[in-house]
Symmetry: C2
Subunit: 512 residues, 2 copies
């Protein structure tokens, strides 16, 4: 066989948009997920782990009507039958496939949680990766809003369990049906104003046209309402009406809706009152002409009542019609959890931490596969954002994570050192023997520094003969340690000589 041409060395690089997670980045996330899973399980939710790979057909969003499926997912073809496969882009699409596939074996309602990586074939950016974790809980097959209320209460419990104290988060609940109801109510209002004497046949047709137009502009209306935070009442009015100059001076066309339509939507955005009762009362007023709208308000009321009965107060979960994000996607109640404490942004300015979880009711999950409508509601936690929040609050990390380092003073006595490590580990203490080249003691200390070792143990020839070991407190002595010889280093105050027999007890006490 001819020798192959020598290959150039491969580059040691993650593909762009991917990253590695080291040490506490991994363990802290796992701990957080374990705690969340524990809460979900307590609510009767069962774990589900589907594989990272699905058929493009089952994922659905990206049907391969061309040779290459759309961008957005990582996809490839099977070698044999040319089936398109892809990495899942979220945990909801696989849930739909799983429920449709196994529905005869699964209980109804099916409560499941799932945690794991998802992949997006998107342009990466700062803090924006092409693989990231999601953590979802969904109830499939429960039409009643008791399922939505349960999800909200569970989310509050999960946040508190991982370390977000009450008062530092708020879960806002809104309902897509209320928004639909406003549009209907506004149409009805328009009818009454345009045809105060009632409708002729022709008038009826005109009214239907107007109504259809209003419903067709729902997406634009939602986009406008979602800017409320930034542009306020006046901005929303302008964009719903005749248009508006933005900050750059450019003119943005308005939707051309009459003033009283804007009144309706602003009443919706401002409906949040001191209590849920007040909010619900105001919402009822705004949607008074719409059956769907009133049903939406009733659903919100039922959610509020159920949560209150379980002891969740308005400082945890609140009806808030200004939550517009998500209204486009969902079909009923929507939820959004926001962290309300401030952190400093990259420029050192304080800002609110913002959203860490969102979800709601979506009722056509399984229909794609079976033709049958199956009600579903769920929540997705932004794992990386929540973890970042816990770090910002000092709820994870901070403690020394490194092992106790047993230094090697005499390489022939590796067995003694290993025995020490075994003793400490036996008591649950993280410990290791230095396994690099022990010749240069400074390298051992540098290693301890890099590993964040809390303590270093030294047993040289002299110590061995006297039946003692030296224990160096590296947290205390860290700053001084670099570049020092073993002799200088032993003179530091942050070290003590103890009897070999007391090693375990001493280390236990030191580490608390």
């Amino acid at each position: 066989m001819a020798k192959q041409k020598k290959q150039p060395r491969p580059k040691a690089e993650t593909p762009k948009g991917f990253r590695d997670y080291f040490g506490h980045e991994v363990t802290e996330r796992q701990e957080m997920l374990n705690r969340i899973a524990e809460v979900y399980r307590r609510y009767g939710f069962d774990a589900l782990e589907s594989s990272g790979v699905e058929t493009v057909e089952a994922l659905g969003k990206f049907l391969p009507d061309v040779d290459r499926p759309n961008e957005g997912v990582f996809a490839w073809q099977e070698d044999d039958d040319k089936t398109w496969l892809a990495l899942r882009y979220d945990l909801t699409a696989p849930l739909a496939r799983v429920y449709a596939q196994h529905r005869n074996d699964l209980p109804t309602p099916y409560r499941r949680y799932a945690m794991g990586p998802v992949w997006r074939n998107e342009k990466p950016g700062p803090g924006r990766f092409r693989q990231f974790y999601q953590c979802d809980a969904d109830t499939v097959g429960a039409p009643n809003v008791a399922a939505d209320a349960e999800i909200c209460g569970m989310l509050a419990d999960a946040l508190e369990t991982v370390g977000i104290p009450r008062g530092d988060y708020i879960i806002r609940v809104n309902n897509r049906k209320v928004l639909n109801g406003i549009i209907e109510s506004v149409a009805e209002l328009q009818k009454q104003m345009t045809f105060p004497e009632g409708l002729s046949e022709r008038g009826q047709r005109e009214f239907e046209t107007l109504r259809t137009r209003l419903i067709a502009s729902t997406d634009n209306v939602m986009r406008t309402l979602d800017k409320f935070d930034k542009i306020g009442d006046r901005g929303v009015r302008e964009l719903l009406g005749t248009g508006r100059k933005d900050a750059s001076g450019a003119f943005i066309d308005g939707l051309g809706l009459p003033e009283y339509v804007a009144d309706g939507f602003l009443a919706f955005l401002h409906a949040k009152g001191e209590t849920n009762e007040v909010t619900l009362q105001r919402l009822r007023e705004v949607v008074r002409y719409s059956q769907e709208g009133l049903q939406g308000v009733n659903e919100l009321e039922e959610i509020a009542t159920l949560l209150a009965r379980q002891g969740y107060g308005p400082e945890q979960i609140i009806i808030d019609p200004s939550v517009v994000r998500g209204l486009g996607y969902y079909t009923g109640p929507v939820f959004e959890a926001e962290l309300t404490f401030e952190i400093l942004d990259e420029k050192g300015r304080p800002r609110q931490f913002g959203s860490v979880a969102g979800g709601g009711r979506y009722d056509d999950l399984v229909k794609r596969f079976t033709g049958q409508e199956v009600p579903a509601t769920g929540i997705s936690i932004g794992v990386d954002r929540l973890l970042a929040a816990l770090r910002a609050k000092g709820r994870v990390g901070g403690t020394a994570q490194g092992p106790v380092l047993i230094t090697v003073m005499d390489r022939d006595r590796m067995g003694d050192y290993q025995k020490m490590a075994a003793e400490l580990r036996g008591a649950g203490i993280r410990a290791e023997v230095y396994l690099g080249n022990p010749k240069n003691f400074g390298n051992q200390l540098k290693y301890a520094d890099k590993r964040d070792c809390p303590l270093a143990i030294i047993e040289g020839e002299d110590e061995k003969a006297r039946g003692v070991v030296t224990v160096k407190d590296l947290v205390l002595g860290k700053a001084l340690a670099e570049g020092m010889s073993h002799e200088e280093w032993k003179e530091q105050p942050a070290q003590e000589e103890i009897a070999r027999g007391n090693l375990l007890a001493y280390v236990q006490e030191k580490l608390g």
Copy 2:
């Protein structure tokens, strides 16, 4: 825009060779991995999580010298720069990339563990999936066999920690250098027998040719030795020598090596003695003419000494030259953990459970990237096999996993039921309210059955009025429950009426 043709319904199916994991399949694996991680951390190993996606270039094994990378991995091209990406097929190749990429920031030695899914683009078979879990621990940058000993001890600890008791597993240690030494020693022996008076110049050339031939047939020799289990001494002798008829009557060519060569290898395979000392003594004899072989024996001795010093006995870890699997891949010590208890195979016959973990030293891990040789040693646990073993031993599963079910007798009192659930959860008990259509009480019971609920709570109008609830023991009453009316069901002995105020205490006691 023209309306798209209606798509046929997608199939709700996992891609072939992939599967879903439900409930306890997920949680039991996670618990096992959490426990293993705890042991690894105690040994000073740090977590590493690299992404599922790597460049094909970095994965290495499948360099894209043709348009489509080789089979064996799932691969695709980036849209923009046409870089080939692939799902990782193990956790070792990514470790090499990570170490090469981050070596200036990582400590040396770098001890890391990793757990997660890997993907193989292979033909699936029964129990053989294209996505499965691996759980690895490796030490990079430690040339000393103290690192190998540490891995063996840690593996023993991990097995015991997850629930494999001492006596039910054995970790066998061998060394590739000893095998190399036998080949060298046999060559030397051959020289002495062929040229008893010493070598002429021409004799030296002939010897070198023989020696080279022997070394070149190392792979064949290993394949032969690996059949020792099945074909015994005689079979190995025949295959090393003149050839052999297999069970089907077909003749298999032998390697054509002289009888005394077979003597050497059989002495190797049989070297395991009553104690490690005896084994080591015998091995020294077989490799007496080889420096590398003697170094290999010394390494095994050092490993044995270090492990003994830490308290690991021969019932846990033992030097065993018959472990040939893995010798081909590794460069120094190799380890294999076997479970020694019997299980029943699919035909009901008892057989040994077999291997659950393997590993060893491999020293060219990082060289591909940097040109610099970096010593490394590690272990990989077969996650699914170990979990299957724990299930076979009754160490996981078995306990009721389902939630306490609070049935809905009166849908207007959902709040009361939710409050009950909240009370139970507050005490850490898994509990849920039935959220399907409550009209048919039988469906609620079927649901409880499907969920493996240990208890069902009933509070109908009558119970509510009297301040009591009925608690049904479903574990006791399971067999009877199906198809029964609420009234019949209440007559079963496996249920009790208790005061509503005692609910929590009663359930706590019931669940132990």
